[in-house]
Symmetry: C2
């Protein structure tokens, strides 16, 4: 198995509301909701850097598609790390996210390992960590 | 905010067991567990294609780092999509994952949107979808 993640699909409760947050709030590029012609098929994709896609898909439809029970939301299942070039850029992204309706979870601050990070949650409680790590700067 | 995810961190209950699954079972490249010198800091990173990293981090430490309550595991919070070049490669990756100890959730089959996909779960119940999608083939 190659070390590859092509799509990161996050479970949402309200696809329209989550689309609005990610598209209009955070400003991520998307063609909007597609797949409405399929029952349990509506999804929104965002094109990220490096060819990876982020997808928003209702939790109920993840359950349906995989054939499992829908579980209660849980914010400690995963986090998405957004690395930036400087501490001031961490501050700027955190401010932007909160202005877009994100919930501020941990204001940007020095981290125990020497970086500078903050956490926010999207409308479904999913954690994003905005990170300045001198040893892992974005390449683009 | 740029459309960028640098690190996908997944919450685990047993870091050693999850490392074994991903490193020895699935064969993903890693330097193993680092950060043991920090309380709540032990983590394992895997270098994926395109410069993205996958991280294994205990759920309790995600909670500690973000300053939130640890929640119950939930398999409908997210899925990780691994796209491949053919239906037979879907079959091969699914077989490999199950041989590595993954739980078979949905055997590879034609999907409603015209692709060919299967689902497995890692030791923490996180869903991976192995996908053949003619419209979204891996570039590497």
């Amino acid at each position: 198995m190659k070390p590859r993640i092509s799509v990161i699909t996050i479970g949402v409760n309200d696809l329209e509301a989550s689309l609005k947050f990610y598209r209009d709030g955070l400003g991520l590029p998307t063609e909007g909701i597609i797949g409405k012609e399929f029952e349990h098929g509506a999804v929104a994709f965002f094109d990220l850097q490096n060819g990876v896609k982020l997808a928003l898909f209702p939790r109920a439809d993840i359950a349906h598609d995989a054939g499992i029970e829908k579980a209660e939301p849980s914010s400690t299942e995963f986090t998405l790390g957004h690395n930036v070039m400087s501490e001031s850029e961490v501050d700027a992204v955190m401010d932007h996210a909160v202005a877009a309706g994100a919930r501020l979870i941990k204001p940007a601050q020095k981290s125990f390992w020497g970086g500078y990070t903050g956490y926010f949650q999207d409308p479904d409680g999913h954690l994003w960590e905005v990170v300045y790590n001198q040893a892992f700067l974005p390449e683009d």
